[in-house]
Every structure is written in structure tokens, then in C-alpha cells.
Amino acid sequence: MSALTKATPRWSSIRVLSLLVFVWAVPASGQQPAAESSATASYAVSSDPLLQAMREELDRSKSQLKMEDVPAPYYIEYRLSDTDEYFAEAAFGALRQDQRFHARTIRVVVRVGDYKQDSYYGPGIGAVNIAPIDNDPIALRWQLWTATDQAYKAASEALATKKAALRQYTADQPFDDFAHAPAVESIGPLAKLDFDPKPWKEMIEKSSNLFRGDPKIESLTAGLRFRAVNQYFVNSERTVTRHGYTVYFLTANGTTQAADGMLLSRAPYYTAGTLKDLPTPEQFQADSAKMVETLKELRDAPMVDEDYRGPVLFSADAATDLFNGMVGRNVLGIRPKPGDSARTTGDYASNYKSRVLPTFLSVNDDPTMKAFGGKTLIGSYETDDEGVRAAKVPVIADGMLVNYLMGREPIRDFPESNGHGRAGSAQSTSPNIGNLVVESKQSLSPDELKQKLIEICKQNGQAFGYYVETLGGPGYEPRLLYRVYAKDGHEELVRGAVFDELDTRALRNDLVAAGNDPLVSNRDGQVPTTVISPSILFDDLEVKRTDAKNQKLPEYPPPDLIAAH
């Protein structure tokens, strides 16, 4: 197919543009005077031109939107996400990306029906539009107007489709489609991206320039991504919230190949809620140098044994990955598809009030906690993205699952939100963790944990156990894995390992000890989250040799260096 078009093909161009949102750090110019506040508008609303425009358009839609033979909406919400982002990347000592952009999106949800049964289904889960980056009430309302119209029409179709789909199931849903929630007014300060990019660019250039010291380093890059996000929310229940956050992310990435072709990579990263929580240039350079050094060590390290079953000690850093993936994802109250009688979609769907961890561990999620051990937690927030106040939720008490993290979509036995409905820009909300904190009644020091590992080895008659320093990749692939010899406790780096059956069952049955070294792991995903966990020891875990095929070594050597630096 070929096409000649004056613009980009047909109407899709505007939709493409709705994704193509970016700005060269233009501060919202043209601040327009806010329109006069109506008698009912709160101070919170009238103090912010965006919230005021959102409130006005929402009120107009709620009171007037009505199609023949379709009920009027019983609920409308508007969420505006403002993202100011800077990112840069350097490869082999030179910058190759350097950009800042500013964009706003809106997401409109219109619900038809009632709390018991409504249209939040398929196309009825909302409409998305691009929003002006100027604080211009009329232009913003115009975008809200078209999105609301689209969302209402989609909702009316969705409700009909949903009713038809539900007719094939006999059982009545024992919970509502949408949870009631009190009206909340909470206006937080605006988050801002305020920094000088120059030293940061120099920092990543300098880090990635370390390739010069080792001709076998095949790629070395460093990058950063800083963003400030402000979420504006209003709904027809008179909730109005505004909350902002900043996330600063810094990373270095290196790859090399062992003589047999095995690809070895490292990608340490730092995620922080404030600039001061990021490493200093000196620290980052030292850490990068250490990474390059470990790549060299990995290249020369022996392959892991073919089979191993026995004790494995996970550092606090590695443990946060496990708790994030295995506990964090499974304690979310995400409703399964209609007709599916399971409580949730996760591994813990049928584990309510049963044991999922050893009894010495408890887990809670507390978005109201702002810092831990002097570090800002990026999973903190006052109100979630459905305008519900955040609360500390005990999730696992003494090993027993006692709660799910809930947004406003109820599941069996959990009719209400506990302030965990979260969403990235333009996305639909979904339950998510905020600050997931793993607490242990045991608190062994790292040395004591290592001793315990050695004891188990001796009991089993094994020459060594394993210590995982850091995980990476899509599964739980060990990036730095050491043999810990029972004889004298010395450690030896190995490569080429994967875990087998490292799952929620192992977490429940084989976890025997935890450390006194809780670590804050900030994680920047669709929404910022934090996991805090100590080191953990499994007494019985399988470690195998990877069966991934080795890659070819480079066909010809890298270019000789010209510059002296």
C-alpha cells in the first residue's frame, strides 16, 4: 500500500499527536485569569485554574449529558496528568540523547448505571485526549468536552454489551461494580523539575567513557531520566485532589562476552525521590568502575555447576525484587473477568486468610510513609489516582494473608477501596502497591545469615552454598552470584546460573531466615513504588546452568582508540 497525503494519513494524525506530546520546557505561559468561581466551588478548586476548568466542564456534563433511551451518567471523573521529563544517554563517553519534554493528557471516565452494576467494561473504561500545556481553561474544557462525549457514548454501548455478556452466568455478582467513597479535598504542592543538566550530562559521559580501560567491553552506556508528574483529579462526588511527585533515575549499562560467547551484562541503577538521594558524581564513577570490574571478573568466572539444590542467601537488594514480583503483584485486588469466580487474578486468589509466608514475616503497604532510613520513598502519596485517601494496609500478618490492596473496584469480601487505585498518565486505574514493607521478627546480621547458610551446607554435606548479590533481566536472573564455601567462608563469583521453581510456594515453604538490614528499593514503573525488605535465606532452592545459547563473538576487533582521554 502506498499513500500520498497532505498531512499524516487522515484523522489518525490527531490521535497520533495525542501521543506525541512533548515540549521544550516551555513553562505554562499565558496563565489566563481563572473564570469566576461558582458559588459551590471550593477554595481548593478556585485556587487552581486547571482544577477550576475541570470542575466547570464536569458539572456541565453531569447535569446535561443525556441521550435518548440511555440513562444519564451517575458518575464522571476527570484526571489530568502533567509530565515534565528530561532524559539523556551517553555511549562510549559521548552524549547521544539529550531531551526534555512537557506533556499533558486527560482521561475521562463516565459511568452509566449505578454502583451495583455499571458500564465500566470494555470500551466503557474511559476516553483519553491530549491536553493543552498552557493553563488555558477554554482549550482544556474543549478537550474534556470531546472526551466526555466519547466516553458517555462508549459507556452506553459498554453497559448493553456487559449485560448481554453477564446473562450467560447464573450467579449474581455478590459485590458492587463500583465502591462508594467519601468526598475528599486534598491539594498538594506542585512537583517541579528544577536542576542544572550540565553536571549530570558530564557524569554519564564520564561513566560511559570507562570503556577505554577494557577492550573487551562491548557496550557501555549510562543514562538518566528525571521527571516531575502532577496529577489533577475531580469527580462528580465532589472529590478534588492534586498531587505531584518527582522521580530521578540514573543507570549504567555494560556488556561483555566470555571466551565461550556467553553474553554478560550489568545494569545497576539508582531511583530516588529527591536529587540529593542520587549518588554524587564521585560515587557514581566509583560504582561504574566497579561494574566494569565485575564484568571482567564475570568473563573469567567459572560456569555454575549443572545441578544444585540447597541453601541460597539473597541480599536485601535481590530480596526486594522477589517481594516486589511475588508478593507485590499477588496482593492486588484485581477482579477477574466476568464469570470467573476467583477472588483476584493473582497467585494469591485463593489464599485469603491462609499462610503465604513464614510466620516470622509480615508485610504491609503504607503509602503514607514518606521516608525510611533517611531516604525518600517514591511510593508515597496522600491520595490515590481515584481521589481516595491513602492508608496503611496490613497485607500479610505473621505469614497470613489478611488483606488485598484495593482500588474502587470491589472484589469478594472487599467492598471498599483502601487507597491503592493508581495509574500512570492516560492509563486506567488499577490496584497497585505504594510502599511495600517487609518486616521480620527475626533479625540476623548479614554475618549471622552467612553463618546460617554455612551451617545448612554442613548439615547437608555440601561444599558450598550460594549468595545472590543482585538480580536482573526479565525473570529472576542472578547477575552476581557467588559460591560461599562451607570450609572457610570464602566467596567465588560464578556465571551462567538460573533459578528453578523460585516462586510463591518457595517463598512460603523454604524461606528460613531474614536479616536486620532492610533496604529501600525505589522502583519507577507506570507508577512509582517502593519495596523495603531485608536479606532472606532459603534452605532449599534449585540453581541450574542456563540452557540459553551462547552468542557469536564479534567477527572483527573493535576500533583502536584515537583520543588519549
Binding site: K6, I14, A91, D134, Y556
Partner: protein, 579 residues
Amino acid sequence: MNRSFLRLIIGSVLCLCGVPLAVLSSPPRPDVLLETMQRELARATTSLAKADPAPYFLTYAVTDTNALTIAGLNGSLVASTTVHGRQADVMMRVGSSALDNTHSQSRPSGITTGTLPLQDDADSIARVLWQLTDREYEQASGAFLKVKTNQAVQSEEEDKSPDFSQESSENHIDESRPAIALSQKIWEDRIRRVSGGFLKYRDVYTSLVLLQGGTSHSYLATSEGTALAQPAAMFRLVIEAETRADDGTNLLRVESYQAASPDQLPSEPELVAAVNKIAADLHALRNAPAAEPYAGPALLSGRAAAVFFHEVLGHRLEGHRQRDEREGQTFTKKVNQQVLPTFLTVVDDPTMHEMNGVKLAGYYQFDDEGVPAQRVVAVENGILKNFLMSRMPITNFSHSNGHGRRQPGLMPTGRQGNLIVTSTKTVKDPELRQKFIEEIKRQGKPYGLYFEDIQGGFTLTARAQPQAFQVIPVMVWRVYADGRPDELVRGVDIVGTPLLSLNNIILTGDTLQVFNGVCGAESGQVPVAAVAPAMLFSEIEVQKREKGTQRPPLLPPPGFENATADATAKSGTATQAKP
């Protein structure tokens, strides 16, 4: 905002600014960039010559781009950004020119793309090129083995031409920098003001004013010794707006302008006038009757005829389509036969800078394979003479004629540049309308159709699909035989088969009109121009366009809450057809 979203954004920017630009940062020093490319290319060529299978051809192409995007709607900006980027494409051919890894469906194996450092850091640039080359070798050598296996097991191909033509090497280093004076702030304010013009119109539901463009420098180094450095600059301003008729038909109007520098774009009053014209057209279209299926005389304006020829004829003249066995190959075996009325001649001339004072978007000096641009007489007095050739040979056409084009990141194919249709059977334009009415009467039809503006279109050239074409006419008028005023209709689609339609042209006007645009095909988006006079067809067939099902918005737009429906009258009156 998550990272994949971000990549999508960046991807869109680079892709939409297919023909890029240089605004703010200092231009690269070709002595470092080009020399590093050449040095690393020579090293790769020597090193890989020992490999088995070995490459016989290697190209490094680097595009250094300074792109700008400013978008606004309803008086506010939605985006304003500049991006400096350097994209490197490593293109490799393994095997021999008779048969290589790019053969047939394996063509994408010939290219690997990556991002180069923004500064002239020779060590860093060399490292990235080395990485990309090593990756490309692995891909190309693997693909070549598959190609050889396929050749052994599949039936013989009809066109046994080699995979790559021999061309002489070129050396052309243009270090000139287009001096672009652009104030982002001034354009931001201008776009705010121009886009704010749509706020007056209650039935323009969505609109956008977009400035995209910038400058670029392209560098090409090949293992055959070609070395090119060429600057380019292009800025496009697009205004688009949409409404919906009561029956659910979506109605879109787009106006676009293209220039080598922002100061050559229309002035602000002209842009404001365009906004008002678009709004008036949409209002008129909203209230116009829906088209009925019809076959009969039609008059195409010069611009409409130009798009028609680009789609219906131009794409079928692209060389590579003549050997791809999945293609319909409408013209493959028609060389030296009559394919058009004898009064029409079609050339594609990328060397032409402008026509009647209008700059042509399809101008270039060298194509993307480093071959000098050439004027190609494709159809002479109705007789098919030539195809638009890249370095992919076809039967009887063994060389490129400088039409190998591509968007960075994709393999080149034969593409149009400036397609120019000229006629020897002309009348003055006003007379053409008279002849049109005579033809309507002669055929005993109540009316004929005048196509004033065509949105663009798409052409299906593959065998698996019907050999149909479709263009999207926007402003179409019924011209009545009995002298009633012309009547705008909406929702018209032209249908039909190419050969038949082309031979229904009976007469043309005497003024060439230019359509500048961006053409998308397998090798990506490239800027093109199409030029043609107005044309009278004895018959064109139209069908009703598929319409949407959604009604217009239920509530009036913000600011119109208290206005009555009559306020739409503000939108102005329909423009008159003036063929």
C-alpha cells in the same frame, strides 16, 4: 509516564519529521563524522572480506537532524519541542550482486539502524558503527544462507535480474548550512493565535495547527568509494480540523504548506484566512447532501489530477514493483505500448527545483543510494518508456536512474520525486468548464462532478488485492447541465481500475498545478511533488464513503452553552466552486 510511551513519542517525532532539519545546535564537522565513517567502513570491509560468507558491499548512512515540532489547538500549545539526533544506518550485502541477502522477501536483512553520539567524538562514533556493523553482518550472513536455500527449493523466478546494479561512485561534499532563522517563541505565539481561530466555530469539534520541520545533514559512505554530504531543510505547516455530520460521517479538512525555511511559509493573516476557510468548508460539508453512486463526466482540478496521477500511475511505475511476484505488475510488460491518451506525457524530474514559482518538495541532487537524480520520461505521448529505478535491476532496465529513496532506517526502493504530467490537448481553464458541461449534456446526464480538492489517497498495488485505487476527495461539487448553481456533496469516494480510468481523460486545462506532500510506502515517508493540469474525464465512478456511526457531540462546545443552534451560521457561507 512510562518508558515505552516515551519511546513511542520519540519514535513519532523522528518518523513524522521524516525529512529533517538543523535549527539550534552547531552543525557536525564533516571532517570528523565522515572521516570516521570512512575509516571504520574501510576497516570493516577489509576485516569482513575474510569472513565466510563475505559482504561485497557496505554502506554507512548517517542523518544528523535538528527537528522542531510545535503543535497547538484552540489557542493553546499542546507540544513544543526540539530534538537533535543522529541516526546511523549500516547497509550490507552478502553474497554477490547476482544473488545476495536482500533478495526478494529478505530485503530487510540489508539494514541495521542505531543512534550515534551527538558530538564529533571519533572514538565513540567508531565504536557504535563497529557494533552496528557486527550486528548487521550476523543478520545479513544468516539471511544469505536462507536465500540460497530458498533459491534451491523454489520454482524459478520470472525476472532473473541481479539483486544490485553497478553504478559509478560519486563524490560530492556540500558543507553549506542553510541559514534558518527561527524563533521558537514567535512561532509558539503564532500557533496559539492561529489555532485559536477555530474557537469561533461550534461545529469544528477537533482541530490542530502543527509546525514541523528543521534541517538535516546526510552523510553517505560506501565500499565502492562514494562519499556524499548533503544539507536539507524542510518545514511543513499543517492545519487540520474535523466535524461530523448528523448521520455520523466524519468530515476532515486539511491544509498544508511546505517550505525550505519558516519565513517562506504563509504569513499569519494567510493562515488565519485558511482557518476560516477550513471552518467554512466544514460547515458547508456538514450541511451538504451525501453523495449518490454515480458514473459520468468529471472534472478534476490540477491539484486533484496531480494526486490522482501520483496514486494511479506513479506508484505503478516504481521499478521494484515490476519484479516483486506479489505485485500486480500492471505495466511490467507494457513498455513501448500505449498506456495513456497520446496527448499526455509523464516525467519524474527530481532535478527540478520549482514550477511556476512554486518550490517542488520532491527535489534532490542525489538519491539515497548515492546515484545522481535524473529526469525520467516515464510515459511519452501516451507510450510507456521507463520506470523509476533504484539500484534494484529489472528485466531490460539494469541501472538506477536516481530514484532509490528511503526514510532513514529503511531499505531504499524506486520512488517518485517530482511527477509532472503535461498535455498537448489543452484549452484555457475557463473553457474547460464549458467543455465539461457540453460533455454532461452529450451523455444526457443531469450533472457531472467537479473535484476541487483531494485529501490524498492510497493505492493497492499487490496482487492479493483488487487492482483498485481510491483517492479521498474532500471538496466535490455537482455541476448541473441546466445551469443551476454548483452544489457541494459530501462522502464521495472515487473507485475504478487504473488503466480504464486513465484512458477516460479527454481534454486538459493549460495551467500546471502543484501538489506538495509526503508519500508513504515500503521505504518510508519521502517528500514528493505531483504536478498536473486540470483534466476532463469522460467517466469517473464514485461510491458512497463508509460513514461512522457516532452522532455529533450531545452538548455544545464550551463557550457556546447559551448560544442557539443558529449560531452555526457564524461559520460563514460555503465557498463557491470556481473550476
